[in-house]
């Protein structure tokens, strides 16, 4: 009996150990491995290149990776910054998958992780995007886009008859009506004017 129990415990421990050892090959361990192999990313983490690595809300971002094979495609997720998912397709450079998205205009400043999953296999790569509210701190390479020209901030809906003037006019006509009525009464009674 005791022997059986020991055997069972030993088997369970062995299975658990094996599970721990193989887990990194499927789960969170892959980005780490990919990071070692991949080209240095602009933001310094992951092997998904994000360019520009720092952008303002509304900016267009290109991401690419060489981790998905020669004709590899991938599904990328920029949901962290509110941009949803988009596709990476083989680009002009050999063995590279490229995709694009736009930073939502309502994005808050911060660092966001962009994740791409290769279509074949379960390899996953990540890269960082920094959203800044101003390009002032981004260096001369990124000139801040400024608005041009006048702004359409009115339709003329406030232009109309002045309510005070309208009220005065209505009051004056009311006085005239009262006076006229009174005079007509007098005439009807034959008093004459």
């Amino acid at each position: 009996m005791r022997r059986t129990a020991r055997l069972l415990t030993g088997t369970a421990l062995a299975v658990a150990t094996a599970g721990l050892a193989t887990a990194p090959a499927h789960g969170g361990g892959v980005p780490a491995a990919a990071r070692l192999r991949g080209a240095p990313a602009a933001a310094g983490t992951g092997s998904l290149q994000v360019s520009p690595a720092t952008a303002v809300p509304g900016g267009r971002i290109t991401v690419n990776t060489t981790e998905c094979g020669a004709r590899g495609t991938a599904i990328a997720d920029a949901g962290s910054v509110g941009a949803g998912t988009f596709m990476l397709a083989p680009g002009t450079n050999e063995g590279e998958a490229v995709g694009e998205f736009r930073v939502p205009t309502g994005a808050q400043p911060g660092t966001y992780e962009i994740v791409a999953k290769c279509a074949e296999g379960d390899r996953q790569v990540t890269g960082d995007l920094v959203v800044a509210l101003s390009t002032a701190r981004m260096g001369a390479a990124h000139e801040q886009v400024r608005p041009r020209g006048s702004v359409k901030t009115g339709v003329g809906g406030a232009l109309g008859t002045d309510p005070v003037q309208t009220a005065a006019g209505v009051a004056a006509l009311a006085v005239a009506a009262a006076g006229g009525t009174w005079l007509l009464h007098r005439r009807a009674r034959g008093d004459g004017i």
Partner: protein, 206 residues
Amino acid sequence: MRRVGDTAIAAVTVVALGSGTWLLAAPDATHTPPQPAAAEGRPDPGEERLGAGALAPSPPTRIRIPSIRVNAPLTGLGLTPAGSLDVPPAGNKNLAGWYEAGTTPGETGTAIVAGHVDNAEGPAVFYDLGALKRGAAIEIDRRNGGVAVFTVDAVEVYPASAFPDDKVYGAAPRPELRVITCGGGYSKATGYQGNVVVFAHLTGSR
């Protein structure tokens, strides 16, 4: 005696009829948004109040201009396809916007706020902007809980046909603010012919 009274009533009736008709039918019976006087333009040399140090960037949430009773939330604005500043939704008459790809109010540079002077229903958030005076305070609530306080340097009107982009949107070496609305005359064919632009710089925070 009665005859005199009747004559007076008849006279009052005639005058009231005439003035009432004139008040209701007068062609110039319109009121337009206030426009800045020339005196609200360039400040005298040395008159400008000393600026305050720049604040860390934090998005603005609300604008308050006590002297013209403005107190409105701020929404983010982008650019139109033509490159001009977009405007807040016209349906909400107490809503202004800020150019969120630009400088946040309080940090070094030129922050831009815009709002409607009117919408189809009538006056809107910045109807009285043209009546703002030099030296008036503009307060911007910031998401980090702070308040940036700006002082008005000038209030100008520019025609859309000759809008001074650099002066209005150009970079500044200190924390500045522009508040923009429509103005400069109105015609049925073209709408408002320009913009009222308020120039202000940071003078405090709390």
